[in-house]
Symmetry: D3
Subunit: 314 residues, 6 copies
């Protein structure tokens, strides 16, 4: 029996139908699913522009343009995986700390099942509770983290859990295998010369943007894939890794970033990784009224779906 | 047993959850429903700006802000009526003629049940097939038509079925009781002095905008309600009836229109009508990036729901 | 023989065809015309937001929605007057002073013919050279000036000719009959208590916005029409006279302004005036991406065309 | 000696100069000031659209268009009061609870001086700590609260301090004289029939929007002024009290609201109140790219400054 | 005698003058012209976002910034070719099928003259009737088709003539020399693995985007030019071939597309082709409020004009 | 003693605090400063879209996101240089000629001190008076001019001083060492084949965009740095040098421009130049509602600050 299929744009016009990811069926729970799409609409962890609370909505809306077959790579994710959209986590929009607890609990519930959570954000602070839940099931994981920022601050305004402290907390809590952490696209400015060097000392592999300007990212992706091998791996994709030309709709943009060809090369070269979860964060729709940043996020979600373990290629 | 309730904004943040009207449950069919919300995402019947194909999506999105109880009038529509969202009609976006056939057929299917169809447009051409279907069930109906335009052209580019010819066709086909047709808010410019006078000759009651500037519409609404009495009545609401200050996001705006207080007064004064169907058309989201035109449409939908036969008042 | 007609929206779709005002024919000169549409695309006379240089373009674009017959009043301006669009004055965008000289000279050329110039602005400084040219032909004129601002400053940054000094200069130069000057819609804030009182001392009739809030402007218009009688009259319409809700796309908006019903009432009540020229200024398109401010300006231009001497009513 | 004056738009172009409120001087502390302008840039207390964190910035930017003299009323606030801009409160953008503590403490510091705090928001949750601080100094105060919403919820997502619970908390804590609370412009939808009635039971005077549609608010303002008399009074102005046509740039808009003439009438009629503090909240700039909502907020701030005790009238 | 010249930006400010392409003269018919600019304002053939009906208007508006001499290549198209703007085809905006018939007939009329039609779209469905008309005159043509999409679907919603089926129809009808068809920039997602392979089987040469990422397109352009040689060639340019970063204002954007340097390299390398017609389609202005997508389209039109047979180089 | 530091985003939220460049302290004069930030808010020298008058405001606003340490290069400009923001030059917005005189005089005042002026524009015409002032102090300077346009026209509308004639005037007046002038990124279209060649004849080194497409600009920057050596050098950065994908918010965009990686490579490779002044011009905020063009300008300002003589590297 064929798994769930997105509604075809030739059966129902793209501007019609349910606003689930790629117009896949909704699901009430993870039972029977290989991949669950989950939205976490929040922006109270952001430090500059807000608006990512509307990210999941607009990524889903723009995802209606994506067809089920990856023409460029041959991947047919919906032929082999059962995917459905479980809707949104019921965060508490007035409390970041409480929201992080709610998210962790929600993902713990998912992890009773052999399902890969695919998360639509929301600001990057949501990745911390997801990693906590992931680590309960899989132990410390490898991490591919594509971002303009390392998100390894210790505190912001005295708070230890914000969108800028995620991966220091994850490191401290032992959620990651530090040598298998790859942070790609780092750039921007900092408060000290040590902003990145401390994390490098933990073992994190940091690839700054200038190192990869003008280059195909296929070799880098292949290198990472080989280094990580079969280790359970989480992939967290901050849309601000892309240059603001390619993704203007985000809260803390940094110039000199990745292009979309680079983003796709990187993801495609990671095929073969044992991905146990992934997210797409920091889309802030009001800063791109064309909708194209969300469309980009939706396409990158689809590219990651296309490299999940078990996906058939034609 | 309590009927369907919208998801509360205190249970799930408004920017979360399903993108149905007011986050009501979806339904696969009309069985058991008193009111069915139906989207018709189309814009190929428009003559100036397009974009109404995204109207249903954005009205649903903005409707998440509406709470279930009408504080100003006491109406509690979801206490007494079973309402659900059936999604969108699968129109053919490449053929207006074919789309009108599809819509009529879809509404014929609804009319096997004792349900009030509440339609989110979409351009105004969709009202013609709905009226055809309504008339099969109810015979010629009374009509409350709030619009800047009478939509009584004979042809546009040789086409007899467009967003500007709807009510001439409906008249010719005997779908309406001409003396019980009320067109409210008419204004703008025309091609001849007879643009309105012919329809007036059929018996249509035409209330132009200048007649109601600066006035409460409560008396007008009461007068119409009394004239129509218990006759089955269809209510068609073109958002361009509102002044562009109040509803900038529409395709053929005309200055000097209704205010939202007037729109609400009118609807509230119509309470008691035997409404057998209604629609909200011509919201074109890209012309109002704030979302407020769609929010207005959603609120007026709620106001109409609040006056349906059988609604409890507290 | 029928005069020039706008291209009908039923012959050629509104988004097609030439971008002249109402898609009227172009003219190379004023010979044979009763009314000439003239654009003056400039913004170097503005003191806050710029962008009015694109005003004529967008007013013309949005004017494509207007049909030739004024349904609300019965006026048929194109049945009785020969109207054409002469395009734009070739101002010098780097020099305000030089531009004012160019404008005056261009209008002097028009005034060799018995033509009413109808000007699309552009910032309000353009009215000064037009009045200079008008006064050469007609002597001091009556003035109906609809605006949030009196534009009677003496100097701005030491400059005596800007969008804020127009009517003091015109007064000083004897271009106006002071007792027949009506400034309507004045409001906003000022530098001294005397901002308005000096001009009142010259004889100017100043009607501030609070005096006309919540009121029909038909009585005021009728009163002005009677006071001015047959005296040659110039009508200058600053779009910022409207409330920013009704005309957001302008450079120096002031809250608490006119509604579009009031604007139309005022113009319609002025029917009978001996209008020898008029303008529509201060539309700044980038501050209203919906296009509706320009649409409003186009409609008000049409309303003024509808009351010109000699217009037939049906 | 003349108090601080705004930089004149004739001395320095409005788009130049410091981005303080009306380009008044900055101040490091309240010593010597009659009125202190204070920004509270926050949006983590909002329940629907975010973005009010940029409210203070844009209100200050747009305030550059306001001149120092109130032409319509004769008020000359800067002739009699020493006003300066103290910048922004250093809230903790990751914690609403912590931010409320910071705000209260900051205002306690102000209240060592005989100064009227004039606050630019920010979401409405900031009014609660201000009232706490105000009450320490003045005891329970009268309240004029202009808003679409009563903000008297008990909890939202289990939180007791959000932008929707402010005035219940203030009531419970005895910060208000309930009989001297006036909530004006209430409308929208609710969760129960009791949404407003409980607060009415406490003594709150609730004036819903439909009660004041089409009416001058001068009588209402006068009535309130008389009822409150000399009692210390706090004025809190939620920009969403205005209709979305007049103030689209806000987070929880409700149709059928006040017009700006009504807003100005109300404030002007309140002249004579013993105002001990006031705020202007809920401006969310990204939802109005014209800047006009912030301009409106800036003008209403100026109108309130114009009625403060001690202001000279010319 | 010098052919038609665009109005110089130093003679008449760019924001002034007629809204023809590059402010060239209008023409009533093709007699005496080498190249005719023709607009086809339509969007009823689009499957996702609409709005291309305003494409010709905005491309013409933005084209006012282009000067007549191609500084980068030395081309002086207006020294050697007589070019004028014939305005827009009078399509029927309510019927796609009828519009395609009107377009074909309009181009048949052009083809009585030795003129190269240069078309401003409008959605891509307009290319089918143009090719039908072209083939009547020139027989099957070579095709350079730059696009994110192959547009070789068989049907969409049962319709055989839409913006997604153009080149299958053209192939079936023998309008093309299949081996001389080059489709460049293909990418995005599909419904089956065979989406592209069937057309490849016909002989179409399909160059997908990943094949040309990070590369100069000069070699590809030279290769195509040599392969096509002197065969009559039609060039169809879908603006969505560009990456959405470079052309956000379009209806079906696909990430990972061409850059504008690549687009210019490709066109310049095609110099020498026997181009018998070309078009620029799918610009949807509302999705790029900066106007830059239309500016890009205008510049690419100019680049193609610069390589037409007979153009002088300095 | 540590020099002035930007307010940290961890001490005061980025959306709070003064709107100075990077939230540095304000200064009343240049005494004691190494670098002075100066705004020149003007747009009356522009030839197409206006709006650069708001450039300094928005660059300052977006600069709040920049942290003080250049993570990618190790530069710590605020450890070694005393930098402050002196606000805006009080130009006369009604007279370009007068404004240029005011600017020259303002900069003459600066040059009594050993300070590097860092200017936020404003349109490019402001660079002419700055160069006049610079040359009085330093004699003819080397020039690094990054721009889509050479700005070497002789006249525009008969005016000799506009944003398009700056560097011809500077050449004629002997303000530059022609052999040490580097114009980088030139492209677009022109009026004759000689548009660039005349300036090349003066000795100007012109690097057109096609010469550097797809390339790192590090080698070019190094070559320029070596050629200029220690000669006093002015750096003028027109944001339209960037491709419109990267900087949509500008007045005369030209496709096929620089990427932000190229812009940063170029600046970083220029380290070692004896920079005596620099500017960042032509940001027009309304054409990029995301704010990202201004953010880009702010970042490039920071990159230039990072290469000033005397900056410490960690
Ligand atoms: Mn991140
Ligand atoms: Mn990031
Ligand atoms: Mn209608
Ligand atoms: Mn209508
Ligand atoms: Mn004016
Ligand atoms: Mn004005
Ligand atoms: Mn509130
Ligand atoms: Mn409120
Ligand atoms: Mn195509
Ligand atoms: Mn395409
Ligand atoms: Mn320049
Ligand atoms: Mn330039």
């Amino acid at each position: 029996r064929m798994p769930n299929q997105p509604i075809s744009g030739n059966d129902l016009a793209r501007f019609a139908g349910p606003q689930t990811f790629m117009r896949l069926p909704e699901a009430q729970g993870p039972a029977g699913l290989d991949v669950v799409i989950m939205g976490i609409p929040m922006d109270i962890g952001t430090s500059w522009r807000s608006g990512t609370r509307f990210g999941p909505k607009q990524i889903r809306q723009e995802s209606a343009m994506i067809r089920p077959y990856n023409l460029q790579t041959g991947a047919a994710p919906f032929d082999s995986l059962q995917v459905a959209d479980m809707g949104d986590v019921a965060i508490n929009t007035f409390s970041l700390a409480e929201s992080l607890r709610i998210i962790e609990s929600a993902y713990d519930g998912l992890h009773d099942y052999p399902v890969v959570p695919a998360t639509l954000g929301g600001d990057h602070s949501l990745t911390l509770p997801i990693l906590r839940s992931i680590a309960k099931k899989h132990g410390p994981v490898a991490l591919v983290h594509v971002d303009a920022h390392a998100d390894v601050n210790d505190e912001m305004f005295g708070e230890r859990e914000t969108h800028g402290t995620v991966f220091r907390r994850a490191y401290e809590e032992g959620l990651l295998v530090p040598d298998l952490v790859y942070q790609i696209g780092l750039r921007g400015t900092g408060y000290t010369a040590e902003d990145f060097s401390e994390a490098a000392g933990w073992g994190f592999n940091m690839i700054t943007a200038p190192e990869i300007w003008h280059k195909s990212l296929t070799p880098l992706g292949q290198e990472i894939r080989q280094a990580i091998g079969d280790h359970p791996c989480y992939l967290t994709y901050d849309i601000d890794s892309l240059d603001p030309a390619y993704a203007p709709g985000t809260g803390t943009p940094e110039i000199g970033g990745l292009t979309t060809p680079q983003a796709m090369e990187l993801i495609r070269a990671l095929r073969g990784l044992n991905i146990v979860g992934f997210d797409m964060v920091e889309v802030s729709p009001m800063y791109d009224t064309s909708g194209n940043t969300a469309l980009t996020a939706a396409n990158l979600m689809f590219e990651i779906l296309s490299i999940l373990p078990g996906v058939a290629y034609r």
